[in-house]
């Protein structure tokens, strides 16, 4: 059932998958813990919104755009000094999580902002009329109504993070994508490369299935 070449490289594949899991996991955590608040501020600080503030909006908006417009490989290289400062080294899986987390934050903050823009203005207006504080508006109204879009966006982002993580071989980050290139492509084991691609397709399909199912389940609109 399982091809011999996969059996042969089983331990390497498992290790590479573990590295991918760490890189993507850190990205997802960064996206939720930092990207979501930034997306929320982008939403709240825009013109006509609750905390309208031209300066905060412009600064966040520009930062998010800059990070997203730099080709990712260049961003990784550009961030090497910063990574070294933060982690102590610029090489390895831990170091690779730094640029991944940064692109993850920028990526998800934009998607989070967009899903909040889908919440009807009137609902937030009703919240204000009820005497809700900004914190109440965010947690009791905004996130409740945007939750399906937030989950959808996080699923889309996570798939992108997996894709971004595949190039982290450049700084020794490892991961399943790096494995496919080093063992499959560079050692002319085309079948191995193909199998790894199939594994990744299955992972992404599963992820998307779970994300879509959850998003649909919590959407009562």
């Amino acid at each position: 059932m399982i091809p011999d070449v996969l059996r042969q490289y089983q331990s390497e594949i498992v290790e590479a998958l573990g590295e991918t899991f760490v890189m993507v996991g850190v990205s997802v955590v960064a996206a939720v813990l930092i990207g979501l608040p930034i997306g929320t501020f982008l939403f709240l600080c825009r013109k006509g919104s609750l905390l309208e503030n031209k300066w905060v909006y412009s600064i966040l908006d520009t930062l998010v755009n800059i990070v997203r417009s730099i080709p990712f490989l260049l961003l990784v290289v550009f961030l090497i000094p910063f990574t070294r400062l933060l982690i102590g080294t610029a090489i390895g899986t831990a170091a690779a999580t730094v640029p991944l987390a940064i692109i993850a934050i920028a990526h998800y903050s934009r998607l989070a902002e967009q899903s909040m823009l889908d919440v009807p203005r009137g609902v937030l207006e009703a919240a204000v009329a009820m005497g809700a504080s900004v914190k109440d508006v965010i947690f009791k109204f905004l996130y409740v109504e945007a939750r399906s879009g937030l989950v959808f966006g996080l699923t889309t982002s996570t798939v992108s993070f997996i894709s971004y993580s595949t190039v982290m071989g450049i700084v020794g980050g490892g991961g399943i994508g790096d494995f496919a290139i080093r063992y499959g492509y560079q050692q002319f084991k085309t079948d191995l490369m193909l199998y790894v691609m199939i594994i990744m397709v299955i992972i992404v399909q599963l992820l998307q299935f779970v994300g879509t199912t959850v998003a649909r389940k919590i959407d009562k609109r």
Binding site: A126, G131, D136, D219, K220
Partner: protein, 246 residues
Amino acid sequence: MIKLTNVSKSFAQFQAIKSVSLTINSSEIYGIIGASGAGKSTLLRLMNILDTPDSGEVEVNGQLLTSLSQAELRQARKAIGMIFQQFNLLANKTAYQNVLIPLQLVDFPRHERKARVMECLDFVGLGHAADKYPAQLSGGQKQRIAIARALASSPQVLLCDEPTSSLDASTTAEILSVLDKINKELGVTIVIVSHEMEVIKSICNRVSVMAEGEIYDTLAIEPQGVQHLEKSPQSFVEQLKGEGGG
């Protein structure tokens, strides 16, 4: 109960309200009618500072809202209920959870919340729909849930922004009866903005007519009571014949 003194409000170049003063007494049902663009919704939104007036004073429940800090204003708003043309319910919360929100905001005693929510839902006749999501309810039911939500924290004032304008005639009557009941049984002061003459005539004691951002006239009227429209097919046929045959 509500006192506006020389309030004005502009949006960009457009002057929506031009120095309006009016007084609404306690336990009144006060109507504001006018063509679209006359400024009636804006005037209502000034009453809980949903729109901040450019000048003038707004007093509600004896508090000068225009002089309050943000925190004090939030507190004051908890005693002012509001309902909207589009209901503005949370689509991802059940009717019960929607009505629960204002109780959470006012820190209502936890163990009494359930009873209070059910009391409000029963008051609008929707106790049986507590576990339904707004998408499962009709327009009239949604508006009644919104009314229950507005009532939960026992406000002294209820502001209604075109409450029946997206509803059909028979559902309109249903909502107006509920509003009338709130006024009679709970003594809540109600302000209704509407462009529909029938709505204003049926339950209001006093009415201001607005035009071009100003109050054109204010008059006391005798509320005619809510006309309960039949919605059986036969009634439609009879109405059609009656109108056509003369």
